[in-house]
Amino acid sequence: MNISKLIFLLFFLCYFTFPANARESQPVYQVLPLKYREGDKATWKSAGYTNKYWKFLLNDTWHASEEQHLWLRSDVILDAPGDSFPDAILFLQITAACEVYWNGELLGNNFIGDVPLDSLQARYAKSFLIPAEKQNAGMNQLAIRTLLAPEQTLRIGGIELASSTATLHPPVSKTIFPMILFFIHGILVVYYLRAFLKHRSSRHHLFWSAMLFLLTVQSGYSAALLNFDIHYEKVLSFNLIQDYLTLALYWIIPLFFAYEFEFRFKRTVLVVSILLTIWNHEALLYDRIYQIAGMIPSLLLIAWAIYRQKESALHALFGMLCLIALLFSGFINSLLDVSFLIFILFASITISRRLGVKSKDHEQSMLRSSRLETEMLRKLIQPHYIMNSLNAVIDWLEDEPEKGVEFIHALSDEFRILSRISHEKLVPVEDEIKMCQAHLRIMAFRKEQPYSFRAVDIDYLKSVPPGIFHTIIENGVTHSPHFVDRTDFILKEESLSNGVRYRIINQQADLPESLRATVMERRPMRSDVMVEEPLDEGTGLKYIRARLTESYGENWQINGQAVVGGWETVIEIYNNGAEE
């Protein structure tokens, strides 16, 4: 299954199926903002007590400088209590030991084991049963009595009401969600790691993999937190990690877009993002408006991308709008909670699309390769090449049958090597040389001119693209003048500090000085030279260039120059260009 489809599926399961099922039977309620008061008085728990003069608990957080009692109170409005939800559950997440009172009556505490409040042994997430008869239509009073150690930070992770069928577990939607996130993150870690291992050059895959690993740990921990007895102190230090991860998101998201859309000033984007988080990190963590403001750099980048008509800019806009809508709806509290999922969803879509492009590139290169193969075959198995050769073969057979047979052997040699190497991207120099020699034997029979081929300092095991020396030699034969006694081809290998150089020298022996200039003039092809092969400088050179590019990218060079008595072609291939 396609990874983005898998994520989509999990996404829908996660966001719509579970909460929707759970929501169907959820009580309709509203928890008003928490207020606090330092100290400890028994009357503060009572239903009739008015907390009008208490202060609001900012960011649901309190830091104790010394050991102290802290009371928290909130009003909970229930729309239709009792009847439809006989067994309501209060689900509390708090980083402190506490006792919970509902309309003045004790619901329970979050202590681990049978210990008193001052032992401070308490768990983070806890559910409390609110019997139907204790639920009032309209206003209900929730009071929480806590005891804090010196330098302890109290943080309210959530106060939620849910219906439950007699079990005292947190609502299923609440616990299953981090579980699913855990699995999604886990799958993605493996996916991106594999993608990185496949293409080592794609560092961004490693980056994704590492980040997703952190998230896997985070969501795994969240899942454990809600399902097992975990001390709130551990939650606190963990919360800090969560905070940093959340803040890091404000850098990573715009940076991701900067890379995705190839924005030039990536450092500026990073600096702006960092400044933004330094400016007000508290607000970015807890305040919805600030959270959305934190998206402005990303939105600006997307706007720029849309203006520049970048690919997938509209995808990005859609993803960001979803994210903002979710933040704004209050369905999620922190960017970290869910946005990662959307963000990863978006990233997966774009990256998998990019992988698609990559595989398209691969197909293209395969296509190019087969086109080059066809071109090479066409060059050698052209009807006119065969017909001209047959024309000569017939004549040799009629006049000197033995020579004719020899000629046929040379022809079959050339075609045999050709059929073996034409589909390769790189072939041993040895094969290439054999093919050149076979071609020269054929041309010697056809033109009744001696051609010689010498290989100097050649490492026969090195590989070259097929047909490149052959093409040069073919060209040399075609352009060699008719009035020389002999044409010599010399292939010379020279090592460079960063690669290898091949010289192919084409020399006309016994060429009178007076004719040398004429020979030089003849290349590139002049109209009065009759050429049977259509291999003028253009086609042959184009083929060589295409083959070299296919195997070495840009790391090669080809040059031609006149030398005494002939012509020299120089091919240089540089290291690190070869595709091993």
């Binding site: 009807p383 017909m387 047959l390 024309n391 000569a392 017939i394 040799w396 009759m530």
Partner: protein
């Protein structure tokens, strides 16, 4: 008979040098072999040839440019080439025959026989090419009204009243021209498409009237054929 072979491959040239005399048994022939067309053209301007055997790379524009120049010469051209697929196009420019490689003795003989018998070409020649200054001009055969013999040359009269001089003789042109061209007189070839009426005057004097009112004489021995052909047309 002067025969020129232009062929860059020694073996192929040798084969032609062997097969041509066989086909022209008993005739007094002189065969010259030249490797490059450049050198051949220099020679053509200096010596009179009767027949040219030409190996030409017809793959690409260049080959046909050269072909157009070659067919403007007075002699006939037989192409000997491995590019058999270009034969039809070569005929359009007025080559006498196209012998594909590998060259078979029978096929070559047939081409030579066609030359000897002055058989008319049954291929669709679309252009006559002629040299004017240093340039080659292509005359579409459909635009030619009639051709008048002028010694070794021919005067070609066109639809637009222009007259061009061609190096080939009337006999040689007739061998190349398509079927609507008819020899009506020892000095005239007419394009039947331009003939309006056939006139018979007293004293067995015959003539044809062209669509523009011009009249051309019709030879006594030829009037029957012309009349038939016009009746059919």
């Amino acid at each position: 008979m002067n025969i020129l072979i232009v062929e860059d491959e020694a073996r192929a040239a040798r084969r032609l040098q062997k097969l041509i005399p066989q086909a022209l048994k008993g005739r007094d022939i002189q065969v010259t072999h030249i490797e490059t067309l450049g050198a051949a053209i220099t020679l053509m301007d200096r010596r009179r040839f009767d027949l040219l055997f030409l190996d030409l790379n017809l793959n690409g524009k260049n080959g046909f440019d050269l072909l157009r120049e070659i067919v403007s010469y007075p002699f006939h051209t037989i192409i000997v080439s491995a590019y058999a697929e270009k034969a039809l196009e070569a005929f359009e420019y007025g080559v006498l025959d196209f012998v594909p490689k590998p060259v078979l003795a029978e096929r070559l003989e047939k081409a030579i026989q066609r030359f000897l018998n002055q058989d008319r070409n049954d291929n669709e020649v679309k252009y006559l090419s002629l040299r004017k200054g240093g340039n080659i001009e292509l005359l579409p055969t459909a635009k030619i009204k009639y051709i008048h013999a002028a010694g070794h040359y021919s005067e070609i009269f066109l639809e637009n009243h222009h007259c061009k001089l061609h190096d080939k003789s009337l006999e040689r042109l007739l061998m190349l021209l398509p079927a609507q061209f008819e020899r009506i007189h020892k000095s005239y070839i007419v394009n039947i498409d331009y003939v309006k009426e056939f006139h018979a005057a007293s004293g067995s004097r015959y003539s044809v009237e062209l669509s523009n009112g011009e009249t051309l004489p019709v030879g006594r021995s030829r009037y029957k054929t012309i009349k038939e052909k016009l009746a059919l047309g």
